[in-house]
Amino acid sequence: MVIFSVYVVNKAGGLIYQYDNYVPRAEAEKTFSFPLDLVLKHHDEKVIVSFGQRDGIRVGHAVLSINGVDVMGKNTGEGKDILEYLRDANNYPVSIRFGRARLSSNEKLMLASMFHSLFAIGSQLSPDVGSSGIEMLETDVFKLHCFQTLTGIKFIVLADPRQSGIDTLLRKIYEIYSDFALKNPFYSLEMPIRCELFDQNLKGALEVAEKAGNFGAGS
């Protein structure tokens, strides 16, 4: 029972805080010999599998590391282009780790702004005036809970679908924000939150919520 991540979005739709708490996803590391039977391609500054799904390596998985060295975008750790490197028979046998790519901070910023826009559309589509906006987005793997304060700040929590008590958690995160971020005179409003006390207390609140959620679902 896990809370995957927490996002805080300001009035203008910009992401001001982001915390990831998830368990690492499935990754597969395999040793390959020339020629590589997977088809790889460039996508969004990453190298991903486009054909040849097998053994836990799925289409869409990104190359995470080669021979134990983490890759940097399209290049290996040493700066060589990955596709060039893998076309050269002299570099084989090579051990490559594939997995679902983590979101970069730019991608998270874009997704947060997109959610902010969807939220606005959601409130306006409402048949009744004064809708609260999107409160929950449910998929089979996670549930996204959103709480917008009267001042326009949105707290978004991604959690396991069976996790309970997220509403209390959202209110608690609001309290922690009003304490450790706002009462810090050196923190400017609407700017990214870089307060250690906020981080610490947020992690504490997530732990409490995860434990409480376990009791709730077990009974």
């Binding site: 906006g133 009267l150 209110r171 609001y174 304490d179 009462k183």
Partner: protein
């Protein structure tokens, strides 16, 4: 509303005299620095504004009050909930204008001005102008009705 156990700060009591003295020191220092009552009033308002924009979130997080439906409800919430929560006093809401868009908050006992007497040479000084700024800042943060 469920309050978790690590919210100890609201049970810490502070000596109200220290608070009055702190505010008094602030105002007198401003008077010395600016030497002009109008300027001091402006500075107090600015400071109050900065406090208000942060205080509103604390107020909303702790009181879980929803959006007020009209101005009268706003006046009631300010007087009965907000002032009570932060200063421990409940001002009275009076003097409504005929159009219903202006009212007065009368503070019977204002903790900021305990023991304070304004001298004659500061008769345009609004001593508690910080509170006006706080109200201005707080209300400005919740006025948008876009969503």
């Amino acid at each position: 509303m469920s309050r978790q156990s690590n919210r100890t700060t609201d049970s810490k009591k502070m000596n109200s005299e220290l608070f009055t003295l702190t505010y008094g020191a602030l105002v007198t220092q401003l008077c010395k620095d600016y030497e002009n009552d109008e300027e001091v009033n402006k500075q107090l308002d600015k400071m109050g504004y900065n406090i208000g924009v942060r205080l509103i979130e604390d107020f909303l997080a702790r009181s879980s009050i929803g959006r007020c439906q009209d101005f009268r409800e706003t006046a009631d919430v300010i007087a009965k909930v907000a002032f009570k929560m932060y200063l421990g006093v409940t001002p009275s809401v009076t003097n409504w204008s005929p159009a219903g868009d202006e009212f007065s908050l009368i503070l019977e006992n204002n903790p900021l001005v305990d023991f304070v007497e304004l001298p004659d040479n500061h008769n345009t000084l609004i001593y508690s102008n910080l509170l006006c700024g706080v109200l201005r800042g707080a209300l400005e943060m919740v006025k948008s009705t876009l969503f």
